[in-house]
């Protein structure tokens, strides 16, 4: 296959102490050699495969040293992409890493597109279809600026929530500590198993709530699984095309993949939609028609959002009513399309069936009502779901992992209390919970327990 050499910073920007610039392609080693100065004049083209080398990145145009690095050379085919791969390990810090990347690019590499390394691996037969999801994971939801703002607001709320939770644990810990370190003080109430389990259960419940929201957080990363449903000829394809217009669609066109697996992504005002079974829509026009209402329920189960399309110019049919019934417990936006034609539909009945769901009337043909639809989608996501339940999104997978660990720790504390383990030993698990929550917001200073101890209680000789 003909491939040029691609390069990108393959570690998350701004996170982590080490950043890696990765090159893949036939010229990867050659390009790296142009800017790498190894110990004792060593050339990367001469080194064995899968070895790591210490040296400096030099700007060949000026001779200036740019960065101190470790360079890994991996030759095809035993690499991630099955091409020659060079990884330049730089110190963290955006500036120096970017300079290294710039040098690589000016010396012959092309900036990789998001997910392109994985794509190449995929195309070179390195990963199979079941791993294709990882491709999508890497591509992720393309977020625009507004999205980032929304995210950071949520992060702020998350950290506030966790701080509150940690403070509750800290006060409990301080209370236990006071009992231990000042046993003779009779004016501090002795912490009992009953008091402790109450706190521990509270903490567990709060962590559970946060974890539940992580589902929504996942949506931010992976896209809101969205199904377009409706009878034949109501305009589902037109709707898909409208949503996907102006290059907003992130269509994966990787050859050899079935369209069942790789879905289409569109970005609606910062909300990433993953359109489910678009192939079905395109090929047979109707998923319900194709697989039947019963089976379509299974498919619909995967959806986070349903776009139910009705025909303005036709009367409601029993099929329509069935569709309403099929999605009754889900988040739905009802779209009444074809307002360019004379009305035959009973809007009163539609409103009745829709209940609290938003209803948008459109004429996709005349491009009318699309703004309203986009508005409905984004408000459902940002204000509706978010504000109404006062939820805070946990979207970062590191945070989710830490929350799971914290939950495990507090559950161990609870089972310890139930088993009658002494409080000062149960407290080990509670402290661990506190520390894990602290890691989420980057605060694990142990000293704060002692501060709490002396501000909460009056002690001394």
């Amino acid at each position: 296959m003909e491939f040029d050499t691609i390069a990108a910073i393959s570690t998350p920007l701004g996170e982590g102490a080490i950043a890696i610039v990765r090159l893949s392609g036939d010229e990867a080693i050659q390009i790296a050699d142009k800017i790498f100065k190894g110990v004792g004049g060593k050339r990367l083209k001469d080194v064995p495969s899968h070895t790591i080398h210490y040296g400096h990145i030099i700007d060949p145009s000026s001779g200036q040293t740019v960065e101190e690095v470790m360079v890994t050379v991996m030759r095809a085919p035993k690499t991630f992409t099955r091409e020659d791969v060079v990884e330049i390990n730089c110190h963290g810090g955006l500036v120096s890493v970017n300079r290294v990347l710039q040098l690589v690019l000016t010396n012959g590499a092309r900036l990789a597109e998001p997910g392109e390394f994985t794509k190449r691996a995929f195309l070179n037969g390195r990963i199979d279809l079941s791993q294709a999801e990882a491709v999508m994971d890497l591509i992720r939801a393309k977020t625009d600026r507004a999205m980032n703002v929304a995210l950071s607001q949520m992060e702020g709320r998350l950290s506030k929530l966790i701080r509150g939770l940690r403070q509750a644990i800290l006060e409990t810990l301080a209370h236990v500590e006071v009992n231990i370190d000042y046993p003779e003080y009779d004016d501090v109430e002795e912490m009992t198993h009953n008091m402790l389990i109450e706190k521990a259960l509270y903490v567990r419940d709060e962590i559970n709530k946060l974890l539940q929201t992580s589902q929504q957080g996942k949506i931010l990363r992976e896209g809101l699984a969205t199904a377009i449903i409706g009878r034949p000829n109501v305009g589902k394809s037109s709707l898909l095309n409208s949503l996907a217009h102006e290059n907003k669609a992130i269509v994966t066109d990787i050859p050899g993949t079935t369209r069942d697996v790789i879905e289409e992504y569109v970005n609606v005002r910062g909300v990433p939609l993953k359109l489910i079974d678009t192939a079905g829509i395109r090929e047979t026009e109707d998923i319900v028609e194709r697989i039947g209402v019963e089976r379509s329920r299974e498919v619909l189960k995967k959806a986070d959002l349903i776009l139910l399309v009705l025909n303005y110019s036709e009367e409601l049919t029993p099929e329509d009513e069935q569709l309403f019934e099929a999605v009754k417990d889900m988040d739905v936006i009802v779209i009444v399309n074809k307002t360019d034609l004379p009305q035959k539909i009973d809007m009163e009945r539609v409103r009745e069936l829709a209940g609290n769901w938003p209803i948008v009337t459109t004429s996709l043909l005349e491009e009318k009502g699309i703004d309203e639809l986009e508005e409905a989608i984004s408000s459902l996501f940002f204000t509706g779901a978010v504000e109404a339940n006062d939820l805070t999104y946990v979207s970062n997978s590191r945070h989710i992992a830490l929350l799971h660990q914290a939950k495990q720790a507090v559950e161990e504390a609870i089972s310890g209390i139930e088993a009658g383990v002494p409080i000062d030993i149960v407290q080990i698990d509670l402290t661990r919970t506190w520390e894990l929550l602290g890691e989420i917001i980057g605060d694990t200073v142990h000293e704060s327990l002692i501060d709490q101890l002396f501000s909460q209680f009056c002690l001394g000789k």
Partner: protein
Amino acid sequence: MGYDAGSYDVIVVGAGHAGCEAGLAAARIGAKTLMITLNLDMIAFMPCNPSIGGPAKGIVVREIDALGGEMGKNIDKTYIQMRMLNTGKGPAVRALRAQADKFLYQHEMKKTLENQENLTLVQGKVERLIVEDGVCKGVITHTGAHYYAKTVVITTGTFLRGEIIIGDIKYSSGPNNQQPSIKLSEHLEELGFELVRFKTGTPPRVNSRSIDYSKTEIQPGDDVPRAFSYETTEFITDQLPCWLTYTTEETHRIIDENLHLSPMYSGMIKGTGPRYCPSIEDKIVRFHDKPRHQIFLEPEGRNTEEVYVQGLSTSLPEHIQRKILATIPGLEKAEMMRAGYAIEYDAVVPTQLWPTLETKIVKNLYTAGQINGTSGYEEAAGQGIIAGINAARKALGKEELILSRSDAYIGVLIDDLVTKGTNEPYRLLTSRAEYRLLLRHDNADLRLTEIGYKIGLISEERYQKFLAKKEAIEKEKKRLVSYIIKPTAQVQEVIRNAGGSELKDGIRAADLLKRPEMTYEHIKMLAPADVEIPPDVAEQVEIQIKYEGYIEKSLQQVERLKKMENKKIPEDIDYDAITGLATEARQKLKQVRPLSVAQASRISGVNPADISILLVYLEQGRIARVSNE
């Protein structure tokens, strides 16, 4: 002026709780040791509470004993009351506390020092150190005596530029009106040491004959014989009680009205006081809602009527102190024998020390005890024995000893001091130890006797006894793991009586012991041993089996930490050469100069990203060295 007063391996300046342990450890290891103190009558003096031990601190005393130190033995010979604290809680936080006969305590310690082989005890005031090319070679006293040594340990407590404050009266003094050490403090500054000003305080003492004990509650000692030292075999049975009373609304009113006379609030005291032992005026200001505060009346000894009024630490003027005492039930007619006072003193910023307690600025010079910013006799003694061991071992050309945070509270204490420093007098608390389930009162010998023996502070006889105990524990644990208890009527009855649910099937004795309601006593009945199991062995067996899961978890954490501890940082590392370190992290690392990556990660202001960078740098250095070879 001046004369050569002789040469030693180790000189210890000061004979308080740190100095005594340092001097004894050095001499017992085999170093020719000199101890110099301002006043031979003040050896091992307790200027504050006449008490030793308590949570965390009591465990330190046990650790000192397991290393071959003296504090435990000395208090075992001189206590007036001994109690086990936190008996209702888990094994990790139990601790002994003794009320001391403070005069007897001093006399016993002095006798021990006087009779110690290799140890010379003299009175004198050290004013300067002999330092050549950054290496300490001895000390000079105010009388011009030049004592030379390979290593020097300074344990001058609160004497450095000490100042006593009562009301608006302030005068230069060490604790209890002893002469302060002013020139030595100035000399340390000359040598480049950064000093901080700390403050502590003490309450008034009253005459026991003037106390109406009928208005107080009695606090007796335990009626079971207890001891700190693993070597103590004789127990004091004739114990004296302490007494509990409370402040009243009237007390609080008087304090409120006279707050302006307190040097703490008038701005006269500038030193930082410890939060954990605030003065009574501090307590009333900070916790204004509390209607009353506890006051413990503690006898200072058997041959004195002086009583320590614990809880009433103050620096208010003497006449206000008298008024305050009169408001407390039982103390209405109390005769105040000594007034409470605050004391300010200089301490060495402890991040200037290596974890061996040797100073970074002057080689072969060690500091230990309150001079390092700690508070408490036990904290002082714990540092003292380590400084003594290391000063002696360095003088004798041996490798120095560093206890880790998972070895001992002493390890936690020293690591905290040299890694984080302290901005108030540092007190050990159980919460400072992340592995406190491993650092128990009951297993100090199992943790540290081996080390004490290797160093030469534990006798062969004691060591053999220790090994026998260890073996007995393992044997009994093994036995209980393999012993199956069958659900006989007798077994079911024992379990029922203990409040447990009956057995459905046979069960391993060890598993039955894990049930919260079961104790070793029960198991002994159900699974009788062929040999007599001594109580200290039974205790270990019970704790080790009962809390096996938690202990295992702690041990795993320790293992993870060990990996980072084993990543050593070369002493000559150039932090300026590491690109990418945050500015604050770089400054802190340059100041603390941690010996391992684990220690570096504990420095506040050094975040995980900095640690990663450091790891990469160290790894690069290692690879670069290998590829250069």
